[in-house]
Subunit: 353 residues, 4 copies
C-alpha cells in the first residue's frame, strides 16, 4: 500500500493513523473499564478539552464528522428550522442529508459567497426574508460555518465576529464544522478559545480523523447545558460507543503535546509550498491557500500528464464565475516535503515537455 514518493493527493482521509494513535489505543487496552463513557479516558478528555479551550464546555466524542455535524445541528435547531450555510458546505452536499435526518427535516439554506465564505449581511437578509414569510417558511434557527472552508480558506477573526454577532442578534446559535479545525487554527495562529467561543461560536465539530486519528471526532459544546440532549441524540443515533475509551483515547492523544497543531502546521506548509510551486507553472489558484487544500486551474495537458505519472487527485466543479478546469490537491500530516517537490518536479517536466 505504501508508496515513495507519495502520489495520492485526493484527500487527507486516505491517510493511515499516526503512530501516537495506535500507542494510545494500546495504552488503553488494559482490563475492564466502565462502558458508555464512564471510563477514566473520557473523563480526562473533558478536563483536557477545558484546558485547551480555556472554558467550561462539554465534549462529546463520535466517530465521523457527519455524525458530529448532524448531532450538533439537531441539538441546536427545531425540525421547522432553517440553517444558513454556504451553498457548497459539506453539510449541504456531502452528507447525504444527515442534518435533515437528525434534525427531523430542518432545512439547509445555501448562500453563495467567494472562497466558500458567507458574510454577515447575507445572513441578515435571509433572516429578514424568512421572518416576513412567517409560518410558510422554515424559521431561522442556526448558522453553520466550515472552518477551514470547503475551498481551503479560513475565516479571519473579524469575519467570525461579524457573523456571530449578526446570528446572535437574530437569536441564532452558530455552529462551526471543524473537520479541518486544526488546519484553520494553525493558519490563524491564535488560541483555540480565540478562534471559537471568544468570537461567538456556540458549538464546534472538532475533527481528528483527517489529521491523524483512526476515526475520532467530537462535538464541543460551549454551553454544557446542551450536553444531555445531545447525548440522548447520540445514543439514539447509534453513536455511543460501549467501549468509549478507544474513542476518547484517540482524542486525548490528538490534543496532547500539540499533536494536532504540529500535524496541521506541517500539512498547511506543504500546501503553501505546493501552491506557490504550481503558480510558477501557470497554475491559477481558485482561492487563497489558507489550510491544506489547493484548488487550482492548470492546463488540461498538465493535469493529464500528472495523472499519467501516477498522481491521483480530484477534478472539482469550478465555482460560479470561474473558468476551469479546477483540480483539488490535498496535503496531509503524513506527507513529506519531498513528496511535494516530487510532484512539482513531475509537473515541471510535463510543462517543459
Amino acid at each position: 500500500m505504501s508508496e515513495r514518493p507519495r502520489r495520492t493527493f485526493t484527500s487527507d482521509n486516505v491517510t493511515a493513523a499516526a503512530p501516537e494513535m495506535l500507542e494510545a489505543l494500546a495504552a488503553a487496552n488494559t482490563g475492564p473499564v466502565p462502558s458508555y463513557g464512564a471510563d477514566p479516558y473520557t473523563e480526562r478528555l473533558t478536563s483536557r478539552a477545558r484546558e485547551v479551550f480555556e472554558c467550561e464546555l462539554a465534549i462529546v466524542p463520535v466517530t465521523t464528522g457527519t455524525a458530529a455535524n448532524a448531532l450538533a445541528l439537531a441539538t441546536l435547531v427545531p425540525p421547522y428550522g432553517g440553517i444558513y450555510c454556504h451553498e457548497t458546505a459539506h453539510v449541504m452536499t456531502d452528507e447525504c442529508g444527515a442534518p435533515e435526518f437528525y434534525s427531523g427535516g430542518a432545512k439547509l439554506l445555501g448562500l453563495p459567497g467567494e472562497g466558500g465564505k458567507i458574510a454577515a449581511e447575507q445572513v441578515a437578509e435571509a433572516v429578514a426574508f424568512a421572518r416576513a414569510m412567517g409560518v410558510h417558511h422554515v424559521q431561522p434557527a442556526a448558522v453553520t460555518l466550515s472552518q477551514a472552508t470547503e475551498w481551503g480558506t479560513v475565516y479571519r477573526l473579524g469575519e467570525l465576529d461579524a457573523l456571530c454577532a449578526t446570528a446572535h442578534r437574530h437569536g441564532l446559535p452558530v455552529h462551526m464544522d471543524g473537520a479541518r479545525f486544526a488546519n484553520a487554527l494553525a493558519c490563524l495562529g491564535c488560541s483555540p478559545a480565540e478562534a471559537t467561543w471568544k468570537r461567538g461560536v456556540d458549538a464546534l465539530s472538532l475533527g481528528a480523523t483527517k489529521n491523524g486519528a483512526l476515526a475520532a471526532e467530537a462535538v464541543v459544546l460551549f454551553d454544557p447545558a446542551l450536553a444531555p440532549a445531545l447525548e440522548l441524540r447520540r445514543k439514539r443515533g447509534g453513536h455511543l460507543w460501549s467501549k468509549m475509551r478507544y474513542l476518547s483515547a484517540q482524542l486525548l492523544a490528538y490534543l496532547d503535546a500539540d499533536l494536532w497543531l504540529r500535524h496541521a502546521r506541517h500539512a498547511n506548509a506543504l500546501a503553501t509550498r505546493l501552491a506557490s510551486g504550481l503558480a510558477t507553472l501557470g497554475g491559477s489558484l481558485v482561492a487563497p491557500v489558507d489550510a491544506n487544500e489547493v484548488f487550482v486551474t492548470l492546463p488540461a495537458a498538465l493535469i493529464a500528464g500528472l495523472r499519467a505519472d501516477g498522481y491521483d487527485f480530484y477534478d472539482w466543479p469550478a465555482p460560479r464565475g470561474h473558468a476551469g478546469p479546477v483540480i483539488r490537491l490535498v496535503t496531509a500530516y503524513d506527507m513529506s516535503p519531498a513528496d511535494i517537490e516530487a510532484l512539482l518536479a513531475a509537473a515541471r517536466a510535463r510543462a517543459a515537455g
Copy 2:
C-alpha cells in the same frame, strides 16, 4: 484498571480488546488507501463473510449494535410499519428509540414470552389484529429476534424455522439482533448458515464488540440487493467511516481462524460453570443459561455479601410472574476459569457465613 481475580460481571462490553484486534489495526496502518470502504480490507471482508456464511450476501460494517439494528430495520420497514419483537428486546428498551428514529417512526410492538423468546403463533395473532385494524394501525412490517436473547437463552433451529415461516407467510422479513450471535452459534453448534439464512433470517446484526473487538459490528444482508439502500442510510446516519479499513480489519480478525467462536465458547462455558456453581448455593435460574449471561435469584444477603467483596453486577427487573431479586452476571472472552471459581468461593464463604 486491571484486577486479579476479575470481579466485574456487569457486562461483556467493559472488556478490553483482544490482542488480535490491535494487531489487525497495526497491520492495516500502512500508507494511504482509498477511503469510505473502497479499500482492500473491506473488499476482503465481503469475501470472508461469504465463505463464513456460505452464500451471497452484503456485509456493511458499522460501529455499534444500536446502529446495526436501527439501520437494518429501517431498510426493511416503511415508516408506517410495525415491528414485532419481544417486549424486553434491546431495540425496545435499550436503544433510546434508535429504530423509531432511523425508520422515521415505525413502531416496535412488544410481545411477552418466557425466556426472552417470542413464538410464531404470537406473531400470527398480532398480524391478524393489525390487518383487521387497517389504516388506523401501523401495518405489519418485520419481525426482529435477539439471538442470544435478552435473557441469555438461545432460539433453537426449530423455533427459528417456525418464526421465519410465519413471518414470511405474512410477507414480513426477519431481522436477527446478533449482538451475541457468536455465543448463540457456539450454543447451537451448527454452521452460521444453518443458524441464519437457512432458517429464513433475512438480515443479521453481527456483533463483535462484546466478544473482543474495540468497536465493530456489521449488518449482514442475505439479500445483497438491499445493500445500496442500507449504505445510503449508513452515510446519512453518520456511520460511514472515512478510514473504513480500521473497522473492516477488526471484523476480518474476528472471523479469522474462528476467533469469534473460540471466544464465545470460552465465555459460554464460564457462564455454564458459574450457573451450576450458584445453583448449589440456592441460586434459582430465571432462564436456561445458553450463552454467556446468568440471570439468577439469590438470597439478598448473599447478593449484598458479594458486593461487599468487591463484585460488581446489575440488579435486573424480574420477568413477569417471577419473584426476585434477580441479578445478572455476564461472562466474557477475557475471563479465566479462576475468575469464576473465585466468585463461587466468595459466594460459598458468604453463604456459609
Copy 3:
C-alpha cells in the same frame, strides 16, 4: 342513507353534521377574507375559547383528532422522549403512528389499567425506571390521558389532580386527548376550566367532529407561549387551512350557546339508558358508562340476533382478565330516545325468542 329507527351504533363519527354547523358555514361564506387564520372568525374563536375556559390560552384549529393529538404531543416532547399513556389509548393503537411521526420518533409507553385509566403511581414507577436507564432509554417527556377514556369512562377530578401532580413533579407536561371531551365534561358537571387547567392539564385536544361538526378539532394550549411552535408544526404538517374561516366557524358554532354540552348530555343520557336496558337482559358492562359508549358482554346469540335485525356495531377486544364477547355501542348527538328503545325492544324480542 337515512334510517328510521337508527340502527347504526358503530361510532359517533358516522353522523351527519348538525344543522348549526352548515348554517355557520353559510354565514361565513361572504366575500374575501384574509387567509391562513387572519380572518375575523378565527380571531373570535380565540376570544370565545378564553371565555369558555376562563383563562389565557391559544386555540389552534385542525381537521382531525389524530392531527390534534400528534401536533400537541410533538410540541410538548423531544424526539427522544417517552410519552406515558394507557396501553389501549387511541394515540397508541388507532393513529397509525402519528405521534411517532410528528414527534420525530418519540415513544409511546403503554401502561395497563382498569377502565382505560392510568394511575399516578404507575407514572411515577415508569419514570423511575426510565431515569435509572439513563441514556439507553427514551426519557420521560409527557403524560397523555384520554378523557373520556377509550373504555367510555371519565377520569374524576381527584384522579386528574393526582396524575397531573405526579407528572409535574417529574417535569412532565400533561396532554388530554379530548376527542370526546364534551361527553366527559357533561359527565363531570363542572366547568371546562375545572376539568382541565385547574387540574394541571397543559394541552387539550378538543374534539367537535364526533359531536356535531363536519370536521373540526382544536389544540387548546393553556400556555399560549407554545403556540408559535405548534403553528409552525401545523403548517409543516399540511394542517393550516388557507380558508381557515370554515374551520373556525364550526368551532365557534360548537362552543356557542352550549351546543357542545347539549349534544354531549343528550348522547350520554342515551348511553346510560341503553346500558341499563341491556343490563336487564343479562348484559355485563365492561366498565361504567360515564359518557356515550357502552362496552358490554352479551350472550353470543343475542349479539347475532341484533345483527340479524340490521343493527351494526363493533366487536371489541375484551380487556385483560375479562371474558368476552364484548361489543361496543356508541350513541350520538343525533340519535333519539326512540332509537334506543327500538334497539332494546329488538334485544328483548331476541332474548325472549
Copy 4:
C-alpha cells in the same frame, strides 16, 4: 366583508366558497354513512375522476395543497432521495419544510429557470452530478413541477414531454403540483389526460380550494398500486377525515358539470385582461400571463396610488436578472370583469394624475 368593486388581489385563497360547494355539503348531510372514506360520495369520486382523466387511477382527498404535495412526494421518494424542483417552487419556499417532514428528510434541490420553469437538460445534469457523488449526496428520486408555475406560466405539452422523458430515463417519477391545475388546463385547452399521464406525469396534486372549494385537494395517483402506502401516510399525517363525505362531496361538485374549468377559464380571462390593461399603462410583465396570476413591474408611484385607493396585493421578490419593483395580482373565480375594469380605471387615473 363584501366589497363592490372587489379590491383584494392578494390571492385566490381569500375567496369564499362557490354556492355549488355549500349545496354539495348540504346534500351530503343526511344521516349516518360509514366513516373514513367508505361512504358513497368517496366511491363516486373515484369513478368520476376515472372518467375525467380517462384512466385507472386512485384519488386520495386531503385538506390542503401542502398535505397533497408532501404526501405525494413522500410516497414517491426514499428519505435519502433528492427531489428536483424550481428554486421558487411552493414546496421549496412556502410549505415550511412539509416535504422534508413527510419524506423523513428528503432534500429538495432547487434549479433556476425563466418563468418558474425547469428544463429537461437541467434535470439530466443534476442527476449526473448526484450519481457521481455516490453515497455522499442524496440520490435522485423525483422531479416535481408546478403547473401552473409559481410565476403564473404554464408548461406546454412539449415541455412536459421532455421533462418526463428525461426523468423516467433516470428512473425518477414525476409529480405535478397542481394547486392551480384547472387554470393550467384552461390555458392548454387539452384534456386532463393529455395534460398529465399522457405526458408522463405519475402523481398530481389536484387543487380545488383556490378555485371554489372550502378546503379540498386530492392526490391523483396514475399508478393506483401506490395508493395503500399513500393512504397509510395520510392517516399517519392526521389527514384522514372521519367524515370523509364532506371532502369528497366538494371534489365531486368541483369536477361536476365542468365547474372547475368554468371557474378557471373565467379567472384566466380576467388575468389576461388585467395584464393587457396594465401594459398600456407602462406595466412590464415579468412572465407571460398563462393562468390567473399577473406579475408586473409598475412605476412605484402607481403602485402606491393603487394602494391608496384601497387595492390590496403583494410585493414580490423580483426574479434573478429582473429589475423591480414587482407586484403580484391574482384573479379568482368569483371576480367580475367590472372588478378588473375598476382597477384599470383607478390605475389610469393614478397614472394620469
